[in-house]
């Protein structure tokens, strides 16, 4: 299936290859952005039918960069299976669909990952009553595991490397894993750490469950565009980078107006007071200012959607700035 899809994708790409996604988007008057059909914290419709989440903010940031208006975006829902054909066929201009950046997707499928907006990784969740503080103490545990995913292989590798045994309880969906863990049919549930957090938040008493500190795989999630349109790729890449740089420089949606009279050169360059970086991207010169004003910097988006104050309670961890113990790093704005 995967191979077939990639062939579809390549064929579709060959048919739809045309220059200038940015011009297409401008002519159309709105951005088409592929998101999930619903994933807590990343993209889900709120009570008013507005899409909210870290990935939804990424889409909005690009819309703001192009149009200066956060509402000029149409969200196209895609599933794990339909996301790549949808992007390849040109039905969406970009994907922000918590997609792991891998070599095969980047190279073989003909896409271009423009950055990472969330560093995820596979983790473990256990009942706190089990009294376990590390995954290496899980010898002989029954593990709920989604079949047919990379998490299955990672799990086998991890237990073999540590010389401990486990019994797998295969499940299909996240809901099933949750039910099995809560009912005590398995001792451990393993999936991406962000998924574990939403599972934990869905429990009637979240304190009864702990997410263990071990992260056993790299899952850098980021927005992607079609291969070959570098101008458009740059627009999406720097929309993300602008949010990260804004956090580095301490610019928030609240203080962005005051910051336009800052004396830090990089702040002035980012906000379009100095230089003509917007022009280079074929955008208006205040594009980054508008992103920060209307969406906020990376930290604001993170705290509002997945941060410790939300039900998901995901600590910044790897997603903290490189200056604060994380690995979030954007190239300089100059």
């Amino acid at each position: 299936m995967k191979k077939l899809l990639s062939i579809f994708a390549v064929v579709a790409f060959a048919f739809s290859a045309h220059a200038g996604t940015l011009d297409d988007v401008k002519n159309r008057g709105f951005l088409k952005c592929g998101v999930t059909t619903g994933l807590a914290g990343f993209a889900a419709p709120d009570d008013n039918g507005e899409w909210a989440g870290l990935d939804a903010d990424m889409c909005r940031a690009v819309a703001v960069a192009v149009f200066g208006d956060r509402s000029k975006v149409e969200f196209i829902t895609t599933t794990g299976k339909s996301r790549f054909p949808t992007l390849a066929s040109g039905e969406v201009d970009m994907l922000a669909r918590n997609t792991t950046w891998t070599i095969s997707r980047d190279v073989n499928l003909g896409f271009e990952f423009v950055g990472v907006n969330f560093y995820d990784g596979q983790g473990f969740m256990v009942p706190s009553a089990l009294g376990v503080s590390s995954a290496t103490e899980l010898d002989g545990a029954t593990v709920c595991i989604q079949t047919g995913t990379t998490t299955e292989l990672n799990l086998a590798d991890f237990f073999r490397l540590n010389g401990i045994s486990y019994e797998a309880l295969p499940i299909e969906t996240n809901d099933e894993g949750k039910e099995n863990l809560f009912a005590g049919r398995c001792d451990v549930y393993t999936t991406d750490a962000s998924g574990l957090s939403s599972t934990r938040a869905a429990a009637s008493n979240p304190d009864k469950w702990v997410v263990l500190p071990e992260i056993i795989s790299k899952e850098p999630l980021g927005p992607l565009v079609r291969h070959g349109d570098h101008q458009w790729g740059d627009v999406v890449r720097w929309s993300l980078n602008a949010m990260i740089i804004a956090e580095e420089l301490g610019i928030t949606s609240e203080n962005v107006d005051a910051q336009t009279s800052s004396n830090v050169p990089e702040v002035l360059r980012l906000l379009g007071v100095e230089g003509n970086y917007g022009e280079m991207l074929e955008l208006s010169n205040d594009w980054a200012y508008q992103i920060i004003k209307q969406i906020g910097n990376y930290s604001e988006s993170y705290e509002a959607n997945v941060g410790p104050d939300t039900p998901l309670e995901i600590a910044r961890g790897l997603n903290a700035l490189w200056t604060q113990g994380g690995i979030l790093y954007a190239p300089p704005f100059r």
Partner: protein, 377 residues
């Protein structure tokens, strides 16, 4: 002597409620045992489900009297001892469940379309409806009106199908699929039985191909491959592509169901029609099809119900139907963990529609007396 002539009542144990109980529930000891077991299960289950769904449930306010806006405010999350279902999530999200992301200012159009759908179904449901003929004309033009109402055009602002969702998408897919598949299925069934080899081969090939692949594959085909076959510049709407796939799928099944009905018609009927000098089309329209369709009603409704439920598969290609909206709601951090409520509600809605269809088929069978053997055998 007189005593002999007196009419004696049958023994108490064989009539009335007691008799019914004895014959149906306590006929012998295995029977009695099963009855007692079922009663015990119901006794355990019914009070619990009533308590959970109604008596202890939150509808709009929690037990403190606050209006519920997220899952943490549900009674059962405030106090695990207290409260059953938290229906507030359905209350808050009702609009999305019924209309998807349809703009609120235009939603009257969907409401009118829903009302018109009911009106269009009326003459089909009640054969004794006064002025039924005129109502039927309305039923025929309803799809055209509904298209302009929902999609836009003719002075209505356009609402892209990307904004459609929930029950609206489920009904559009189900109704269009069932309604279009019926005539196409009849043509395919007749074609497969045709004596012209080209026609019969083409129909057989089509039916076997479509039946041989899963609906998901067809949906993917419609979503990804269909645009490649269309000339450059023609941008086919995502929902239309899915509709094409669903209709093709359903018509192949419908064709086989109707072919089954056609095969049950005794050859004498064909011969009689031909001996009257009827043409192929007149014979089929007047003699064969009415009988064939009549005996195929149960399987026709069966496949239609199947399709109605299969429409939930469109989530795979990223269209949010009723179930998709439910899943989307579950992904909102405000409503995490309310999966029982949401799945219960979605299944209830599906049950109402499928049960309705099933009752309608029973009514049709009774009206047309399909059980009675007919024809010349």
């Amino acid at each position: 002597m007189n005593e002999m002539n007196e009419v004696r009542k049958p023994p108490v144990a064989t009539t009335g409620i007691i008799g019914w109980l004895r014959i149906n529930l306590f006929f012998n000891w295995t029977n009695s045992l099963i009855t007692l077991f079922v009663i015990y299960c119901l006794y355990q289950f019914i009070p619990w489900i009533l308590d959970w769904t109604i008596f202890s449930a939150d509808f709009k306010y929690n037990y403190l009297g606050e209006q519920i806006t997220n899952q943490e405010m549900c009674s059962r999350n405030l106090d695990p001892e207290n409260g059953g279902a938290c229906w507030a999530v359905i209350y808050v999200r009702f609009y999305q469940f019924i209309y998807g992301f349809y703009p609120k200012v235009e939603v009257w159009r969907v409401n009118i379309a829903y009302a018109m759908l009911a009106l269009a179904l009326l003459p089909l449901l009640y054969a004794k409806l006064p002025y039924r003929k005129y109502f039927l004309y309305f039923t025929y033009i309803f799809p055209v009106i509904a298209y302009f109402l929902l999609n836009g055009g003719l002075g209505f602002t356009e609402v892209s199908t990307n904004k459609w969702g929930g029950l609206l998408v489920t009904l559009v897919l189900g109704c269009t699929g069932i309604a279009l598949a019926f005539p196409i299925g009849i043509m395919l069934a007749l074609g497969r039985r045709s004596k012209l080899p080209v026609i019969s081969m083409m129909c057989t090939l089509f039916i076997e191909f479509i039946r041989g692949v899963p609906l998901i594959t067809l949906l993917f085909f419609g979503m990804v491959m269909l645009p490649l076959f269309l000339p450059e510049g023609i941008d086919m709407d995502g929902l239309v592509r899915v509709l094409v796939a669903v209709t093709l799928f359903q018509s192949a099944y419908m064709a086989e169901v109707i072919r089954g009905g056609l095969q049950a018609i005794p050859p004498g009927q064909y011969e009689a029609a031909k001996s009257l000098g009827m043409s192929y089309w007149r014979m089929n329209l007047l003699i064969i099809l009415p009988q064939a369709i009549r005996i195929s009603i149960p399987p026709i409704v069966n496949t239609s119900i199947g399709l109605f439920k299969d429409t939930t598969l469109v989530i795979i290609v990223g269209i949010l139907d009723l179930l998709g909206i439910g899943r989307g709601t579950l992904a909102d951090t405000n409503w995490l963990g309310l999966s029982y409520e949401i799945y219960f509600f979605v299944s209830l809605v599906f049950f109402i529609f499928t049960f309705g269809m099933s009752r309608y088929s029973l009514y049709l069978e009774k009206k047309l007396k399909t059980g009675i053997n007919m024809g010349a055998d």
